[in-house]
Symmetry: D2
Subunit: 393 residues, 4 copies
């Protein structure tokens, strides 16, 4: 009898996410929140001992903890269909995204992966081809687009609530790298994220792609060209930690996008404002359950998650909500939305639904490629004195 | 070989939480978030068909879905130690709290239960005796005390940061029952929560106990006496939907506690302010990641979750945190904290740690009894024209 | 030729407001802001030297600075009509309200006076009779009702935007008297405001009357009865510094009103929430330019001062506005509104308009009497163990 | 006997500010708020009838209402010293700034003028020379620097509270010109402010100079160069209505400055964030009484106006404050601060104090010139495809 995905939880393996990592645990919590996915295997670290230690903490079957991701993917692929994993969750540093993703897809596994997608746009283009050929689901965790109020924002813009878009202000400000913590010896996150070999870009890659993706997702408008002023403020740091950009989106839309890792005292302040010719929307991570809708001459509207009116305006926002109003949801739930939607797509495809009929309500390989093109254009523009540079031209 | 709880996930059964229920799913998500507990059995509804349907959605082993909670508890108790459940999660309407909790504890299971604990203080006193006799863990989901910033508030008060407490303002305002939705025919929540037979009290029980518990937890001061003005604003409703109280806490502390289910347009606005003779703290659910600390003549301090300084002031706040700053956490994580702490206590007790040495960092049966005494005093005072009435005197 | 008030600024004398006073200067700035009123005379202090010093700072004609208010009122009354003052601004401590107001009105002067109106309700009743007999304008500076957004709130409630009112939460929290600053020797404000002989009541009089007046003004509903818990937290203080009240307004409206001068770290936090059966409004002094309008199931509306839509809903709000949106207005402008509206009424009466046709858009002697009745009921209730007590019954 | 300015109010004449104007009334209210200055003369409109009408509303002596500003300046200059005006307040459209200012200074009058200072930097340079030669006071109403919390911000930065400045984010967003209201026939403000002949620049001049001035004032760092993307979004409008800039300030500071008049739904949202290597400050007009001070790892501090601690950190902030905490002050008070400080400087100079010893705590002709250089650099850069362009190089 064929393995029926509608009758069981999907089985997930994780690559990365070992002791001391941050995002791996968030992926696991998000993936398992809705009871649709269970962690079944892992190669949590390039150090097998660490991987085992992590597995024990997670009460994972020791037989399915592997010394390396290659070993895991091969071993799992060799298992019978009703045992082997369905999904590979890739949460390694950026330079270790491409190879495992490619192999996993090659073996017919679905992939959920952290961003930025790769180290170069060349890798990104190749991965896109691999995904398309595989027929599998590939989700990229641009988490902020997992928030219900961001989905609502997108739907309100699509419905014309703010008219034709004119101006965008996108920002992501952090302060956690305001000093050279990468040289403190005990900050793994800071180490790899400021290492060009492992991270590719710095602020541009880690948070710039989030801000760019948020702007494109909510408005449906792609960044056409940009003029960038990319900086490294911390002395001796070999990678960018701040970037200010003038941006042109499709349709004559203009605006700014600025990101920083040295905005001392800031937390994870990603925000988006979109001004149309008939209204404006504003979303801030710090108040992620609220969406502001501004009008030319009516009271400002505070849209709040989980009310009937919000669901009436965006079925998608309603479908990505778990608790009543002001029973706050947050980042883990936003991750859970990406996994939940990926799981649904996987189940639907497995059940034979046509790819065209499946809703991919999560960032895909196309978003991943856009991110790499954004990074490369920004670095090029800045190097050339802020010259206006096409994105992916 | 003895079953070693340190080597496996704890197994949980749920009573209640069937299709259409809200809080059952939140309990399940919270319980499973950290990978410490797995759902292993369920009697999700008094209707066995509904229970089975729920189980299928959860991919639960059909053999462990039961037609009734009595059946489940007996069957699970009869299983060998290394198979049977460890925890019973009780999320039924209030009138169905006492009996299953008593039986579960009698069989040696640990219990996590929704509030208010029982329908009468007599039941509550009996349950307290049962818990004490059982030697098991009993946790009551006064969820708001699961928030890290509430734990921080408690610790700051304990450390004397605001001096001697003088005044408290506690509030819980909702608007969801501003009309008689219980008569609409399709609102199960409204139906049972406004039915005296199933809910006991209305606003006083559902949210009044939360506000009272929050005030006692944060300050460590018990409510001594109160003067209540309890109302039913919705015509024909057989239960209270609003209550305003003058309150005296231990140590000469005075203040107000007001709750409402007819505060139309409000979400789940629970908040607490505590004024001492040297400072004040303020916490609001709508900004659950922030704690305000006010000083006599220094800038107001916005304490935020997950910073080093917050962890330095409260190890407990740090231990109940999963994501970095402004990667918001919310209600499900607050539930997860109660389950996580209960799971730790269960594991420690199972490992032979003395009960006195185990930290019960969650609301217990004592909080549950306090809640029932609070409800009864408030109803009595209001009936007697607002006469000052001792709580549990 | 008769003195034509339409052709000149109104002339104002001030009683009180000498060096070191706070509210006197605010009255002067508010009175003169719109160019309708000019300061023409003064008895700023019971100490003539201080009065002269103040007058010099204000570049006032030395001939019109007086050694006492009696002297001033008599001297000004003796001047020819086209020279003498039109308005007396009384900003003395409370015990010095009644006598000068009575004499000023007796001489045919209009009066703008600080609150609370008197020391006893007997004085208040007498003053009411004096005002009525005088045919003059008497305005009491319950300043918060001078804010445009409070006027808007009143008009929205009147228009039925929130349906039938059910519940009110009124608050005024301050922290400035959290210690015995009245014994520091250099805090005049603290001294007289905590002296029963000069202030009458403490927190109840100084800020309780503001909260009560705000609730009655916005809803148009009078306080019927109350149950009070009045306290003195600072040891040795001979007057109340905190009060918590359960309140019933006309029409079956219930709620709480709590005020404090020992809410350490709080500024001048007066706020009002009114819940109807179809919506709710919320106004907070800390965000005085915003009015929240909540709906059962629509986005929360943030009404902001000076927009077209706000003026369309409340001509009165528009008429009490001086700057465009988010060019903030504040307390001085709220005072200016009371003076501006009083000046208009004075001019209209002087021009022969019938009293009934004149709009008194400011707190009057009736509000002043209500305040005294409120204070007395609260003190009586608290003394009698919180017994429900009629206000002015 | 010589005219002694210490013994009387300063006499002010206003040029502009006739019926329908907005900013003229704000200047008058600000100027007269503190009783230091009185309106004594006016040429409120180029239409003498309108000017007279305005004067009547202001109860101004008809003999001192003039048909034109030239007439007024000459007539006043011809009056004896103890009658003639001391200050000229110029509130005309931008193209009418230079000539009256030059003439007024030439006659020995002090000038307070609205911004931007002139139409060209050439005019600005000439005016600077005129001011310097005159020995008189010239104040430019970059109002936002009149707010006490902005003065506090400047002082905290100066004291090193945020370390060495690294990044600045400056913004001024409005929505009031999101459509072509200048063609509606009844919006004078929109008409002249979008007319290149009268306004010079559009958004850049009206609000861009405010944002630029705010950044330079608070940090003490001048803008060195910029790369601009200046736009006109409203079809047919002959002037800029939006501008996004990358900016370099002195000392290697980088950041963005963006302004808009088509940010529909926005009010007058000017804000400034300054990130140093040891902390950060943030001020927003919408919460003008609060200054945020962020630290690397301490609670965020909310500094509030009028507390003792704020005055201890900035005597200047304290000196520019009129009411206690949370008795809000706003725009008119910010204007009043500029006039109050200008009046003090005028009195001190008149009393013979050396110019070097006088504190000019208001924007001066130097700020005005900086503004013109900023506008010209931005327009040039944008025209040249965003080329990095020196400001005033």
């Amino acid at each position: 009898m064929a393995d029926d995905l509608s009758k069981r939880k999907l089985r997930m393996a994780q690559i990365g996410g070992g002791p001391g990592a941050f995002i791996g645990a968030v992926h696991r919590m998000g993936a398992q929140m809705d009871g649709q996915i269970e962690l079944a295997a892992g190669a949590f670290s390039s150090d097998p001992a660490k991987s085992k230690r992590m597995a024990a903490e997670l009460y994972l079957d020791p037989a399915r903890v592997y010394g390396s991701w290659e070993e895991m993917l091969k071993a799992e692929a060799a298992k019978p269909e009703d045992e082997r994993i369905d999904i590979v969750s890739i949460v390694t540093p950026n330079h270790m995204h491409f190879a495992p993703a490619k192999m996993a897809l090659g073996f017919g596994f679905n992939v959920v992966m952290d961003k930025p997608m790769t180290i170069t746009s060349a890798e990104a283009r190749e991965l896109k081809a691999v995904v398309n050929k595989s027929g599998k689901v590939f989700a990229l965790t641009h988490t902020y687009t997992g928030y219900p109020m961001v989905k609502l924002a997108r739907d309100l813009v699509k419905q014309g609530k703010i008219g034709k878009v004119r101006k965008i202000v996108a920002e992501y400000s952090q302060g956690w790298l305001y000093q050279a913590f990468e040289r403190s010896g005990d900050n793994k996150q800071a180490e790899w994220r400021t290492d060009p070999a492992r991270a590719g870009a710095g602020a541009l890659g880690d948070i710039g792609t989030h801000a760019a993706n948020l702007s494109e997702t909510v408005t449906g408008l792609k960044i056409v060209e940009l003029s960038a002023d990319v900086s490294t403020f911390v002395s001796g740091r070999p990678i960018d930690d701040d970037a200010n950009l003038l941006v042109h989106w499709e349709g004559g839309v203009k605006g700014v996008l600025h990101v920083s890792q040295i905005a001392v005292g800031e937390e994870n302040e990603i925000s988006l404002r979109v001004y149309g010719d008939a209204g404006a929307i504003e979303w801030k991570h710090a108040e992620c359950e609220t969406l502001l809708l501004r009008h030319p001459d009516k009271p400002v509207e505070l849209w709040r998650r989980a009310w009937g009116y919000a669901g009436a305006a965006s079925a998608c926002a309603a479908a990505n909500t778990r608790t009543p109003t002001n029973h706050p949801e947050g980042l883990i739930e936003a991750f859970a939305n990406i996994y939940m939607n990926a799981a649904r797509a996987i189940r639907e495809l497995a059940a034979g639904k046509a790819r065209d009929a499946v809703r991919f309500d999560f960032p895909t390989v196309d978003d991943g490629l856009r991110g790499m093109l954004f990074i490369e254009a920004a670095l090029k523009s800045s190097k050339e004195g802020g010259k206006w540079t096409k994105v992916g031209g």
